[in-house]
């Protein structure tokens, strides 16, 4: 959300907290929220300057491979779910090597349904993405495990993820 970034860091943290609180508590299932992408952790799918549309969704409808907006500490982030166990999720940015710390499912704000890249839109609910998202989650998860053995072992997974996403663009 661009305008908040104009304030100094202390204000920004406080405002992000308020915004996350509003998104978490004032919206109902089915409502949508548009967010500006502010990091490249999901590249090439999402880059700084892109926008995402997220739909407020109950956590039991979320599946492995979905890209979700979750509240983390005083902010929120948009990453892919690569693993789920009981009431927790493991998320990871497609462009990150390591996953994020486990997070409780009650931190969910919504599921990303559309990514806007300039004049183009990517519909993550289309058949091809519904098929590919779980696959990308698996590859992303394998990449992290391979990296923990040796940094070079991650490269085949990274290459495959990049290739799949490049073909779809």
């Amino acid at each position: 959300m661009s305008e908040v970034q104009k304030h100094h860091p202390q204000q920004m943290s406080s405002h992000h907290d308020v915004i996350a609180d509003i998104l978490e508590t004032d919206l109902s299932y089915g409502d949508v929220v548009q967010l500006n992408v502010v990091s490249n952790s999901m590249q090439p799918l999402m880059s700084i300057g892109d926008q995402v549309i997220a739909e407020i969704t109950p956590s039991d409808e979320i599946e492995q491979g979905d890209i979700v907006v979750i509240r983390r500490n005083h902010d929120y982030l948009t990453h892919r779910i690569i693993n789920q166990k009981h009431n927790t999720w493991v998320t990871k940015g497609d462009n990150n090597v390591l996953p994020d710390p486990k997070i409780s499912q009650d931190k969910l704000i919504g599921r990303v349904t559309i990514i806007k890249k300039g004049n183009r839109s990517i519909n993550l609910q289309s058949q091809q993405w519904v098929f590919l998202n779980p696959l990308l989650a698996k590859l992303s998860s394998f990449e992290s495990r391979a990296f923990s053995i040796h940094p070079y072992f991650r490269l085949p997974f990274r290459f495959t993820i990049r290739t799949i996403q490049s073909i779809l663009f």
């Binding site: 959300m1 305008e3 304030h7 406080s14 405002h15 915004i19 998104l23 004032d26 929220v33």
Partner: protein, 92 residues
């Protein structure tokens, strides 16, 4: 064109919180946020679909140490900005 008789109507899709001396207004579907200062937060809280800009100015003068001319100028400028951002519309 805003006049003192205009009635500003807050956009019902705006979500907001008043915190400390400011208000955070969120337009979820547009992905926009507007943070307003203490006076702006008071003006926002006065938008009740009935008050005219003149009545809002009078309220501002009673709550803050400000002369009516300054309050009028600042309030109209502030509400014009909100109208431009589609946070507020003006009753016809």
């Amino acid at each position: 064109m805003l006049t003192l008789e205009s009635i500003p109507i807050p956009n019902p899709n705006i979500l907001y919180r008043v915190i400390d001396d400011e208000a955070v207004l969120v337009m979820p579907e547009q992905g926009k946020v507007k943070v307003v200062n203490e006076v702006g937060a008071v003006i926002w809280s006065l938008l009740d679909n009935h008050r005219t800009i003149q009545e809002i100015i009078q309220e501002i003068c009673s709550q803050f140490e400000v002369d009516e001319n300054t309050a009028e100028k600042d309030t109209i400028k502030f509400i014009s900005d909100l109208v431009e951002r589609e946070i507020v519309s003006i009753a016809k």
